[in-house]
């Protein structure tokens, strides 16, 4: 056990899978000698050599197309897309190709590709470097979309993602990279890719969130505890598929729910959660479903980010509104 940052935990997980399986490959822009622009892959090229960890030309469609060809010839690719904004250059490789191959081959051909990519606001970076673009991908059948909210999950989930035989889009939260530290076990362990986690138990209201927004929700839970309001916080972890069972179990207990996401409201994950509840568990509710999100503008200029991003205050306000409904 050691106290690791979120980013170090991912590095640790990648180190583990490179060690465990000689067919794993890490590649992308700057992942080699430089160890990634955030240093997520730092040290791995030195340790495993340029055959296993290497830089590519600067082209995202090329990188993911390469992954497909490598998977076909027996490799287990772990490509990095330097920022999630750049996945827009490679949507066909994801939605038109790798996610369809198991289906095409009646289950007999796997595409065990883990696409790692950083996302999420709050770091005042350049345009298209912070956006939450998960909605582009959560509607793609055959693709898993996951994102950890803490260092423990980060390591366990990246190992699970690589070991999983489905293509996985592994979203890493930029703001959490260095702002969060946790006890993380040494060596190999896994965290399931398709199970939401009850991040905190409670009985009066449920907050469903993912990634950095989970921590905002936990702050709200802490604060409201002092007023004897008991908040249950669910960390989705998997954005596609969504673990509705864990959500429904919670709502059956609390009868009230707020769904929080950092992305704009029109962007799908929160809506997907809300619609699942509205279809299959609506009668457990005794208030409308509360939604917290960024407003429906383009992800804003860096200087305005803090006002735009939904935070604990926004969640708290919505929780109180639903509680008082």
């Amino acid at each position: 056990m050691a106290k690791l940052t979120y980013i170090k935990a991912i590095t640790d997980g990648l180190d583990q899978v490179l060690q465990d399986d000689p067919k794993t490959l890490i590649f992308g822009e700057d992942v080699g000698k430089n160890g990634g622009v955030f240093r997520t892959t730092v040290g791995l090229q030195d340790k495993y050599g340029t055959d296993r960890v290497f830089d590519t030309p600067l082209a995202e469609s090329g990188i993911l197309g390469l992954s497909i060809g490598l998977a076909l010839t027996g490799w287990r690719p772990i490509p990095e897309i330097q920022f999630m904004g750049f996945t827009m250059e490679a949507v066909d490789s994801i939605g038109g190709q790798m996610s369809r191959n198991r289906f095409r081959m009646s289950g007999d051909v796997s595409m065990p590709i883990t696409i790692r990519t950083p996302f999420g606001g709050g770091t005042h970076t350049a345009e298209l470097h912070g956006d939450s673009l998960e909605n582009l991908f959560v509607g793609i059948p055959g693709l898993r979309v996951v994102t950890p909210a803490n260092p423990y999950d980060a390591k366990g989930m990246v190992i699970s993602a690589v070991e999983n035989n489905d293509p996985v889009l592994f979203m890493e939260n930029l703001k959490l990279y260095r702002s969060m530290k946790d006890e993380v076990p040494d060596g190999h362990y896994t965290v399931p890719l398709d199970k939401a986690k009850v991040a905190r138990e409670g009985s009066d209201i449920t907050i469903v969130a993912y990634s950095a927004e989970v921590n905002e929700a936990l702050k709200v839970a802490d604060k409201l505890e002092k007023e004897n309001i008991s908040v249950e916080v669910i960390d989705l972890r998997s954005l596609s598929p969504i673990d509705t069972e864990t959500i429904f179990n919670s709502i059956d207990k609390t009868h009230k729910v707020v769904v929080a996401q950092e992305a704009q409201k029109m962007a799908g994950v929160g809506a997907q959660v809300a619609s699942a509840i509205a279809e299959d568990d609506i009668m457990s509710l005794d208030a409308p479903i509360g939604r917290v999100s960024a407003p429906d503008s383009v992800f804003p200029f860096a200087m305005a980010e803090n006002d735009w991003l939904p935070n604990a205050d926004d969640i708290e306000a919505k929780v109180r509104e639903i509680l008082n409904y």
């Binding site: 030309p57 497909i68 060809g69 673990d243």
Partner: protein, 373 residues
Amino acid sequence: MAAKSKHVVDFENIKSTMSDPYKKPVQVIDETGKIVNQELFDRFSDDELVTLMEKMVWERALHEQTMNFSRQGRLGFYAPTLGEEASEMGIAHAMKKQDYLFPAYRDLPQLIQHGATVKEGFLWSKGHYQCYDYVRRGVRAWIPQIIIGAQYVQCAGAALGIKKNDEKDTVAYVFTGDGGTSQGDFYEGINFASSFQAPAVFFVQNNGWAISVPRKTQTAAETLAQKGVASGVPGVQVDGMDILATYLVAKDARDFAAAGNGPALVETLTYRFGAHSSAGDDPSRYRTKEEEKPWFDRDPLIRLRKVLTDKKLWDQDKEDKLVAQYKDQFKQDMKDAEAAPKQKVSDFLKHTFEVPTPDVAAQIKEFEAKESK
């Protein structure tokens, strides 16, 4: 001249000469059936000449029979190959079993030569999941790609995979058309393979048209062979109506890549004699009979037939018999395809993820209930 000397860089001259090295398509027999390069012709044994002719006859018979099936409504989307037999079979003849093939939608004949069955080809056209059984059987070929360009970036990955697997005498083969060369993925695929000096061979079957868009609209480059230059990949044009030239060039390209020299690019000059696809395309809307005529005269079967007939290796009777035999077989293949089991949505759903998710599992149940009614 005075005005011209003011220029530091003579862009006009660079532009007008850059294509010169790429404009000399290799040819062995011309369209009259005359052997124009005896040295190259002599490399072929009589048996090999006959084999190549048979392959073209087979492809043409397949074409004719599929057009027949199409008219009868027994096929779905299908891309006719009439006129492109020398290009497709010449290249296919140079492939080895261990090579990975990345075909596009017009490359079913090469795919079948590489190990897929005709029945699978028909199932692909009709839209039945058993069409990809060849992949499961271990044939090293991927799906007839619909998304133009995607096969090129994937081919680069397979070529790198071959290199990393240290597989000797193995390359990745990929096809696109003249139109396909305009896609960013075409360029990225070649450039990636070249950056890794991986054993890929890139084929461009330039059949003059991308549906209704003529070759000249795609690019101001005078040849498509020169597109490799952007990535340091040597390219060459070949007379794609001459199967002997096409085979020799394809084989050289394969040898070059297999020897670890990095990728090569081949442009075959050919022509789509008929419609773009079976889905209602009508060439008379966008091209003239005057344009078509000289290309029809370059029919790849005519010229090799002439050479073989002169050498007494071939006669019409033999060809007719072969065609009949092939077509009978295709009819049987179609019957087999038509006997394929009904596809179940519940099956599809099982193959979305390795292990069905709860939502999908519920949907499987739902469909199984419907299906058992």
